[in-house]
Amino acid sequence: MFACALIGVGGLLLGLQVDGNGEFVGTGFTSLGVGALVALAGIVFSSWHERGAPRDVITAFSSLGGFLGLAFVVSGVLAPGGGWMFFEVLVLAVALSRSEAARTALSRGTVILLALMLLFRLWISYQGSQHRWEVMSIEVPILSSLPFSFLAPIQSVELGEFTPRELGFPLAGLAFAPSLALWAAGFVLSVAGLAWRAHAAREYENDRIHATICELPPALAQLVERVLPESQWGELGLHGLADRPLRKRIEELMVARIAARHELDAALRSREILETTNPGGFSGEIYRALTQGAPPQASGARSEPS
């Protein structure tokens, strides 16, 4: 719940900017809508094979917090409009679909990608606040040094031009410094909230699975937790299962693991496995004689004197 509150504060900061009059202005619904779409696509594709679903108020609220947190973060780092935004949407949709969003919220690589996109957004906002409407301007050597104003259009090359409308600037212009502080703080709080929420959700599920196992007699429960260690519960698909499927899954896993353990024990006890360690030659024959008795009779071989 506290993680969700943190996500809420982050989303609040990411939804605001400060205009030239020093007043708070919203960042609009376009970027939030696109962010929600990307977050939804990311969550759906990354958890395609997951069977878990929210079962109670806490897990449902946690899932809502995870979705909104992702939507806030994505909308906070996207360029506010134009061609840049759609390129970023594509990149983020692929990145979020590949990451294990359902289990780990955001992987380290995804966080780095989001941080880089936030930096890009801050850069173009800075350029816009300086009334420079391009990502960067490169001066053409020699031409740029000539003092003729009619050459101005070809003295520099503008890369990545955009307009104030695309940036979603307030009418009174953007006060860059306070807006930067709001967005950076919002991003950090949202990402921290998402990570905290994912950790808390994992703990919550582990507690529930542990409680289910503890319904068994204590010695048996201890055995089950040794065969199915807690660190593997997520990978084994126990997280998010409803009570009955959870029990059935634990039964299945126990049957499979115990059977595998029996097979292994049988194999280890068999003398045949020692054959594989026989080095051969003189010492190998002696070794075989000691472990398996007389070798098979070969033609022409002398029998042992009585």
């Binding site: 506290f2 809420g8 609040l12 960042t27 108020v57 609220f61 003092p147 104003s149 009418l171 860059f176």
Partner: protein
Amino acid sequence: MPELLEKPTGTVAALFAALALFGASVAVRAIDGGPLLSPADRDRERGAVQEPMQLLGRSASARVSELDLRVNKELRPEWMRLRKAIFQLPRCPRTGEWLDSSDGLAFERLFNELRRGNRDEALAGLVLLTEVARRTEWEPGLLARVQDAERLSNLQSEWLRTWSARAAQDAQLSDPALATLLLHARVERATYVRTIGRDRDRQERAAEAFRRLLEDTQGQPSVFARALDVRHPGLVTGMRDRKDALEALDTAAGQLFPGLNGECK
């Protein structure tokens, strides 16, 4: 929901706080910025000078006497004498020569007194300065006599340094201050644009001086720059786009003060 009641109070409170924050996070995005208003568009203040830009125009002589009562009593006699002298200046003298005359020296003293006064007196000083720019010759010509333009530019620069930030939020002074900025750019360009080429050092110094007027300490547009952008959209961007940052302002000054080009025409 019933299981919620079994949770600790802190958890339930955090849940409702998070719900409220989620709602607020979405709702704040709808906050719209205020309307785009120039300071001159605000409600008229009682006692403010009506249409102050008329006092900087060609027909300022018809209204300039309105300012008599707004000038400090101690300065009023000198103000009245000098405004008559300036508005009836004959023969278009060189600016430097006139400033060195007895009237010119008195004008400089009065101008500085008015500049340090209240906003009515600041406007009165600006009216005189603009009229001096109109009725004296500061165009350098082929011989590049830039001293006249430099002296006029220095007076404008002092006024802008004192009043630009305050004027940007003042309904009475914002338009005259912005107009003076444009005219200042025109006069300043006269000091470095030569018939062939230009004085690069002087140009860089002028660009730096304008940057100080239009940027705050963090390199962001100052309040004055924002007022300029509201009143003359595109000019600030125009300054960024050109190698000679003042060229865009000079062009705008040509439209605002037709014929005021230092040649008394």
